[in-house]
């Protein structure tokens, strides 16, 4: 056992794990959930729960480790343990970085606390799997690294491919972890001045593993779609070669842009600091090249790495200008959850490069810079936790009031199953966050509500002692009554007016927001016209 896990690795893991727990202590103890989580929280998830969007491995770990249950404290704790292990193994076994204990501890706490993890914590039902993909990918990387010097290169390559496929099957954007780490290994290997043959043999298993895993993934998607187990969705479409090529230049531009664009919880200071760290590493690396040819190779590699940091944007057919919900609100190049997989390995390498410097001045400066980044991380994470907690409380109070109003109407009966039509959503996390003027996007970190309008049966049935809401959430023309018509055409006002609510023996209609109200009345008029035509 001691040979398997080294003592310093154990203490580094513990340091990273405690840091993560500390950063998200309010969420660990507060048990915040919502959005897709309501039903899984009650009923758990099963192995096939992710198939609808093609994520065929997403629930393997929760199923086998927690019987598919979402558990307070434990689900996240287990995720943190896996993620901390991934970072430690990446540092000590894959990059094989040598440093003193203090530098190691500082690096690992800073990287573990990087706030890219915040968006992963929004959805409770996938938190364990999302946090475990880095560990599975590190095992895949280690297998690929072991292939060339071993006597069983094919077996190791195959193992690497299978592990990577498992991670990609759960969340394709996790490929960022594999790609970034592999690119960094190239830089590390190049420092050893290897022959081209050596480089070829060393990195062939990585290439085979990556391309093989993606090819199989595309085939599995095709099969699942053909069997109607998976819907065609924005996050499981298959890119073609032409779109990949045309996406290269815009993606490089977006990749650089996203390094300096502030997003909710990612202040300009944080972005500039991380960009400065990456840029300084590039400068140091280029400075160490002793010929123009080498320098050009390194520049190309860095551009390639920067491009692949935004791998999801590269394979995405959406551009931020297209008229699509996710492109408008959560473009692939600015997805914090994608950064969670791509940026920590790179920053880990950058900070290690600094702290290993032979120059005392650089070492001291980087020590201060790393400590500053660590402090910003802790502040950002706890600020996220506070916003999350207060927003969750506010939205839950809103559900209580909405439920209470519905159940207090004279026509309400607990023995009837209602179709609830909720017009509009009220995301409330933003109330507890002071945004800076330059910030962009932040769909899951800040803007998405816990109460989704298309899932009323999940949250309205959550707390009451009896279920009273059907899973349907639309009005069918044949059930429209005169009372409902009068309400929707003349009386309706938006929440909290008493005329924001209509209850008969089939429907409960709530106009939650003015926009929602307008949409609902518009749709209702169309529906009525269509029915009479």
């Amino acid at each position: 056992m001691t040979a398997l896990i080294k003592k310093n690795e154990l203490s580094l893991w513990l340091t990273a794990f405690i840091t993560l727990c500390l950063c998200f202590l309010p969420l660990l103890c507060g048990f915040v959930w919502g959005n897709h989580d309501w039903l899984p929280l009650k009923n758990g998830t099963n192995l096939t729960s992710g198939l609808i969007e093609g994520r065929f491995t997403q629930f393997i770990l929760p199923f086998f480790l927690l019987s598919g249950q979402i558990l307070p404290v434990f689900s996240q704790l287990l995720g943190f343990a896996f993620y901390a292990a991934a970072l430690v193994l990446l540092l000590t076994r894959f990059f094989e970085i040598k440093a003193n204990n203090i530098s190691f501890a500082l690096i690992i706490t800073t990287i573990a606390s990087l706030p890219f993890i915040t968006e992963i914590l929004y959805f409770h039902f996938i938190v364990l799997s999302q946090l475990s993909w880095p560990l599975i990918i590190v095992f895949s990387l280690l297998a690929a690294k072991k292939a060339y010097p071993s006597r069983h290169p094919v077996a190791y390559t195959l193992l690497s491919l299978l592990l990577l496929l498992t991670a990609l099957g759960g969340y394709p954007a996790s490929a960022g972890f594999f790609i970034t780490s592999t690119c960094i290994l190239i830089f590390i290997e190049l420092k050893k001045a290897p022959s081209i043959k050596q480089l070829f043999y060393t990195f062939t298993p990585f290439v085979i593993s990556f391309l093989g895993a993606f090819l199989i993934l595309i085939m599995i998607y095709a099969k699942l779609k053909a069997a109607h187990l998976t819907n065609e969705m924005y996050n499981n479409h298959t890119p073609n070669i032409l779109s990949l090529l045309t996406n290269i230049l815009p993606t490089i531009k977006l990749s650089f842009l996203s390094l300096i664009t502030p997003q909710p919880f990612f202040s300009l200071t944080f972005k500039l600091l991380t960009a400065f760290i990456i840029l300084s590493t590039i400068v140091i690396d280029l400075h160490q090249c002793n010929s123009l040819a080498k320098r050009l190779i390194h520049i190309s590699l860095w551009i390639f790495l920067i491009l692949l940091l935004k791998f999801p944007a590269l394979i995405s057919s959406d551009t931020p200008d297209s008229d699509n919900y996710f492109s408008q609100n959560d473009p692939a190049a600015f997805m914090v959850r994608a950064d969670f997989y791509a940026l920590p390995p790179l920053l880990l390498f950058c900070l290690s490069t600094f702290l290993q410097s032979k120059f005392r001045l650089i070492k001291n400066f980087s020590f201060i810079m790393t400590a500053l980044l660590l402090w910003l991380n802790i502040n950002t994470n706890l600020s996220f936790a506070k916003t999350h907690l207060l927003g969750f409380t506010a939205e839950n109070r809103l559900i209580e009031r909405l439920s209470s109003r519905i159940q207090n109407t004279s026509s309400f009966s607990p023995y009837v199953y209602y179709t609830i039509v909720q017009a509009g959503e009220l995301p409330l996390r933003q109330k507890y966050y002071s945004a800076s003027p330059l910030e962009k996007y932040g769909l899951y970190t800040l803007k998405t509500p816990y109460i989704r309008h298309w899932l009323p049966h999940e949250y309205y049935n959550f707390y009451p002692p009896f279920s009273f809401v059907k899973s349907a959430n639309a009005i069918t023309p044949e059930t429209i009554t005169n009372d409902m018509t009068r309400f929707l055409t003349t009386r309706i006002k938006s929440w909290p007016s008493s005329d924001s609510l209509y209850v008969d023996d089939t429907y409960a209609v709530i106009a939650l927001t003015p926009t929602g109200k307008e949409m609902l009345t518009g749709q209702f008029n169309q529906l009525q016209r269509g029915y009479h035509d």
Binding site: L25, W375, N379, L382, T393, A394, L428
Partner: protein, 521 residues
């Protein structure tokens, strides 16, 4: 940096680090329930949502109060971290105090000393307002740092540099929370007793060593008063000082107050607990008298001890407002006297004194933790209960037929409901507003509270309720129909104003005011 710290004997060794870490963990365990439950209210409401600005404390003359928040958390009040940072500084302050007083160094002694003070229920008073927790616990550290540097001046070649840093320390802390002056004087007086008893120094020698400290405090106080003079602060209660002519008479009053602190009970500090603390003090002071040789020196020790006790009421002596038996002021004064007593017991060579300290300190720490948890239980239940009432009131307002969320109303809250006392029925001699009786839903924060969880922003924060709003209709409602919550007439809404009535006392006051305004109606 390391060299400077070593020169100042501030570079921590293994005992320092271990005792600091163990104490820090115990302190965090003691207030864990608070750290995990994120209770806030009263002054905090607006700041929890938005952020603290450097200028947020200026209106009451606290010009440095929010520098620590701006530097450490970008002006945010963050759950968990707020307490962690505060306790970090408090632990550091007490470790430095142990060094300043030269308490006999051992892992056990330092751990007991730090933990005993930090877990005293006085610390709780800084957790009630989350918006000043970090600053006010940091001031303790900076104040002791100032004292520590001042004590080094006598034998240092860098007198000017050390003096400047000390003055800055005293000035910054006075600018953050003026009652910190208690800490300056209690700790200095205690230091003099330590030196007199254990180092056999004469009064003259002590004056030569500590004249710098007194001078630095004086200079900082002058700077502080001058700064206040130029600041655009409001005329608030906590800036009024006692006139010079009244000081002699007040000396005796404050001496009485200082001594009565030993037995007067306050919330979460019951009689038995106070008696145990008194026993600690009596044994320590007796020990100091026994340890001193000669009747004259014994008499001087006695006078010094009485002087030290008196300094715990220095703020009460210096200012007009009521400051006696207020936990957060006693945190800076009387709590240090208890620490002084434990420090004395831990420093005696006599095995009996050591044994007493080693028996009493763990018992007292255990009692501290029990009292803290009792308090936190009452706080949490009070917090929940008050916010449930707020929910019900918001539902009443937003469901009112006259209410339209798109309109802007001016808001007025009549009275408040404080529910922490409902969960703590034990009797005590003196109430303490911060420990128990202040509400989370403070009357003057009503408009921020109404909108806190609501999806809408319907309060006009710019204009208050005006005398012209009291129309005959409004007058009639408040004089004849209004009643406090939960009565249906606890909420009044017309086109412009929302008024919520929380309690009868508030309503009576309000009726009195509008009757005076409109005697003709």
């Amino acid at each position: 940096m390391i060299k400077t710290l070593k020169n100042l004997s501030l570079f921590p060794d293994k005992i320092d680090l271990k005792s600091w870490l163990i104490s820090f963990l115990i302190i965090n365990f003691c207030f864990l329930y608070h750290s995990l439950n994120f209770m806030w209210g009263n002054h905090d409401v607006k700041f929890i949502k938005e952020e603290l600005l450097l200028t947020s404390g200026l209106f009451e003359g606290r010009f440095t109060q929010f520098i620590p928040y701006t530097l450490l958390t970008n002006g945010q009040i963050l759950p968990v971290l707020n307490n962690l940072i505060g306790f970090f500084f408090l632990t550091l302050a007490l470790w430095l105090l142990a060094k300043y007083w030269k308490i006999k160094k051992s892992l056990l002694n330092y751990t007991l000393f730090i933990t005993f003070f930090a877990t005293l229920p006085y610390t709780l008073s800084w957790l009630y307002f989350t918006f000043i927790t970090i600053s006010c616990l940091l001031w303790a550290f900076i104040a002791i740092l100032g004292l520590y540097f001042s004590a080094q001046i006598y034998q240092s070649p860098n007198k000017l540099a050390l003096s400047s840093v000390s003055i800055l320390c005293f000035y910054v802390t006075l600018g953050g929370y003026p009652p910190i002056i208690n800490t300056f004087l209690v700790c200095l007086a205690a230091k003099i007793v330590f030196s007199y008893v254990f180092e056999n120094k004469t009064l003259k020698e002590l004056l030569i060593i500590h004249k710098y400290t007194l001078l630095n405090i004086l200079i900082a106080a002058v700077f502080f008063k001058t700064t206040l003079h130029f600041l655009p602060h409001d005329e608030v209660y906590n800036l009024e000082t006692t006139p010079l002519s009244a000081l002699p008479a007040k000396f005796i009053t404050t001496l009485k107050i200082a001594f009565s602190q030993f037995y007067i009970t306050t919330p979460f500090m019951p009689r038995g607990y106070k008696l145990l603390l008194l026993t600690l003090c009596i044994l320590a002071f007796l020990g100091a008298l026994i340890k001193t040789d000669g009747y004259t020196r014994k008499l001087i020790t006695l006078v010094l001890l009485i002087g030290t006790i008196w300094t715990t009421s220095l703020t009460t002596f210096l200012v007009v407002p009521h400051t006696e038996f207020v936990s957060r002021i006693d945190f800076y004064g009387f709590a240090f006297l208890y620490a002084f007593a434990l420090g004395l017991l831990l420093s005696f060579e006599l095995p009996l004194a050591q044994s007493i300290a080693l028996i009493l300190a763990p018992i007292l720490i255990f009692q501290n933790i029990i009292n803290d948890y009792r308090a936190l239980k009452s706080w949490q239940q009070g917090f929940e209960a008050e916010f449930q009432i707020l929910d019900r009131i918001i539902e009443r307002v937003e469901n009112h037929p006259n209410f339209t969320p798109s309109r802007q109303y001016r808001f007025y809250q009549i009275g408040d409901i404080s529910l922490r006392p409902a969960y703590h029925q034990t009797r005590y001699d003196k109430d303490d507003v911060f420990l128990i009786s202040l509400p989370y839903l403070a009357m003057w924060q009503g408009e921020n509270l109404m909108e806190f969880y609501s999806p809408f922003a319907y309060i006009n924060h710019q204009t208050p309720l005006l005398t012209t709003d009291i129309t005959p209709e409004v007058y009639d409602f408040f004089i004849h129909k209004a009643a406090p919550f939960p009565h249906k007439n606890a909420v009044f809404i017309n086109n412009d104003i929302i008024v919520v009535i929380y309690d009868q006392t508030g309503l009576d006051d309000f009726r009195q005011k509008i009757k005076q305004l409109y005697p003709e109606i």
